[in-house]
Symmetry: C2
């Protein structure tokens, strides 16, 4: 028998209104749980198409994960298709009924008789409580195939999978996992560095996911002892581009450290245009340590709001070590922050020259003990990516400083 | 025969390393071109699985769009699978060879003999030049089914579809389209407003795509006359939430208008934390009109950097009409801008109160003729969405002002 088949249903998927992120989520989970996905299928709200797919899958795949079509309206056809494919009638399931009623009670909303349709499940269904919505999920088994039917809204689907993961996966217990988040190096360089680690720990699965300007490396193993040893080796193999071993983002990690140490931060941004400040203030609780920012896009603003001497701008240029350090010192003083981050660079596509090509970015961080400066060249990427890479590099520099690395 | 079958290939898709955005892109295009997608399949880099899928599809679907597996490495198996399914051998295609060689010449890179594998195509293949990469796309026809094989990297796939759209779609010519972009109203409200327009123009297809905080409405028709009439009716039905009829984003539209009128802009941001400035500076050429921004997250910064009187903060609070207007006036003066946008609100999840719940946001726009203020309540959405909705609302208010609406 093959590993898993993932089916996503919904007319909106076939119209291309959205990409099937549920499929990718489930595929990654199957991979981690040791039942790799062999095929994915996307079909409309179509009872016959689903019944045919399920009939073909019974006895061929260990696991079928099917999402969508569990709602109360007429285009929600999943239970009828399951009934046809498994050759069993629908019946009102008392546990599912209780869950639907309870969910409406919690929300203080009136329930129409039509909502009870969600409690009509195929005979033999094992109900999986949905902690995030009204549609109960359920599981069927036949000819060695376990088929799980999940709600379509991603937040509900993920909540059901989280709660019932050990009931759903045939092995019962999944492997332990460690997620290492990195920035500043591409996926292929990180893969190269990890090669000896992968060779030394054949029992640990290593997977890479790039989401610019970040790469996440996931280690997973059913046995926690080699997993922990592998984690230590991986941390030293990856080196300085690693910024999180607990899933936190760069900005979350930084807000956490600043809050813990009662330090405040301000930014003076030119090429990043406010993105660093935006990333920091997305984190709940940012107001405890973020003082504010000055986006000095125009050179006159660098002088008037940040005190960058006109002569520095004239002789060294806006994109220079001298300017970016003066920007950091200026915002540190004017916004009374403990730490200040400044950026100045050429995001492109225009504005570059032979000695300062597009992608040239200077970053400075002022802190109680001094000032740190670095120059970067983000070449071969577009404007949006230069801006994103600059913001990540600035946060990473500051984090390293806070951690004395 | 059924409409279209979309096949995406690649082991990384089955591992859940990424969602299949190519599939969604192609499905939307098929929908727009009048050959709706009937099913999508995602398989690994697996010659037999692809050959089986293609054999089943020939004679059943009008159009098959298959992406991935056209590269030069051993896991690129598409051409061999096509050869099996269509029952024709591979041969070195002279046109494809010339394109591969030309592409390497342009990039100034050496070509290894292995790259010539990309020019080995099934007999009968019609080559579709790939303007963005080395792998030539191609098209096969059998039993009324047209099958198109596309490169996997999204930028290459989209470039091939753009260039060859009229060759690929059986109708030869696609319908004309109009995209109306809106913000400030949900999809269901817009659908309701559009209902009489949809009824009046049955020959015009209307589709909706929500991407918070925006909704795009696409009108398409093979006949431009009703399409144009429908566009006019739709514009008046949608009302003030419409901001673009030419595909431009809010920020692009605003940078365009400001540049045209030689006006400059600055922002004073509290709850949006720099997002408005970030969105404006993402637009190439923003430096012609963006002076900069002050992110005044801390109240002391609202006073020191923006000149908001301490008494206003004490008596009216940071989240008030008086504060946000003073912020806008302050940044307008200090950064010497023609137009200034200010935001102050409670992004949540904490910080709200009974009379100022989380989601309360004040926005002010200072312009040469005066000052405009509005209060918004973005309730029932999370912190990230409150911030995104506030930034969109601020840009929309400013655009309306620039357009005298």
């Amino acid at each position: 028998m093959m590993g898993s088949l993932i089916i996503s249903t919904g007319d909106e998927l076939l119209r291309g209104a959205l990409a099937d992120t549920n499929g990718a989520f489930l595929a990654a989970l199957c991979d981690d749980m040791g039942v790799p996905c062999a095929r994915m299928a996307i079909i409309g709200d179509d009872e016959s198409a689903l019944a045919d797919l399920l009939s073909d899958a019974i006895g061929r795949y260990v696991l079928v994960l099917c999402s969508g079509g569990l709602g109360p309206t007429t285009d929600d056809v999943t239970t009828r298709a399951v009934s046809r494919a498994f050759g069993v009638p629908l019946e009102r399931n008392p546990l599912a009924r209780a869950q639907v009623e309870e969910r409406f009670r919690q929300r203080g909303r009136a329930m129409s008789p039509i909502n009870l349709k969600q409690a009509d499940l195929p005979v033999g269904a094992v109900v999986l409580e949905n902690p995030a919505g009204t549609a109960p999920a359920f599981m069927m088994t036949a000819s060695g195939t376990r088929a799980v039917f999940l709600p379509g809204p991603p937040v509900e689907l993920q909540a059901v999978m989280d709660r019932h993961v050990s009931a759903i996966f045939p092995s019962g217990v999944g492997p332990s996992r460690v997620v290492l988040r990195c920035t500043g190096e591409g996926e292929s360089i990180l893969q190269e560095r990890m090669m000896p680690v992968e060779t030394a720990f054949p029992g640990v699965r290593v997977s890479y996911r790039a989401s610019f300007p970040e790469v996440s490396i996931t280690l997973s193993s059913a046995d926690p002892v080699p997993l922990w040893q592998c984690r230590e080796k991986a941390i030293s193999a990856i080196g300085e581009s690693l910024f999180s071993t607990d899933g936190c983002s760069l900005a979350e990690r930084m807000i956490g450290l600043l809050t813990e140490r009662r330090l405040t931060v301000a930014t003076a941004e030119s090429c990043t245009g406010g993105l660093i400040s935006h990333l920091l203030t997305l984190v709940p609780g940012a107001s405890a340590c973020v003082r504010g920012a000055v986006v000095a896009y125009d050179n006159a603003v660098k002088t008037s709001a940040l005190g960058v001497p006109e002569e520095v701008l004239r002789t060294k240029g806006a994109v220079s070590e001298e300017t970016v350090c003066a920007m950091a010192q200026g915002v540190c003083q004017s916004l009374l922050a403990d730490i200040a981050i400044a950026t100045s660079g050429i995001a492109g596509p225009t504005g570059g020259s032979a000695d300062k090509p597009a992608g040239t970015v200077h970053i400075a961080v002022v802190h109680p003990l001094g000032i740190l400066h670095r120059k970067f060249l983000f070449n071969g990427i577009n404007r949006t990516r230069v801006i994103a890479a600059s913001a990540a590099a600035a946060l990473k520099m500051t984090l390293d400083l806070l951690e004395n690395r």
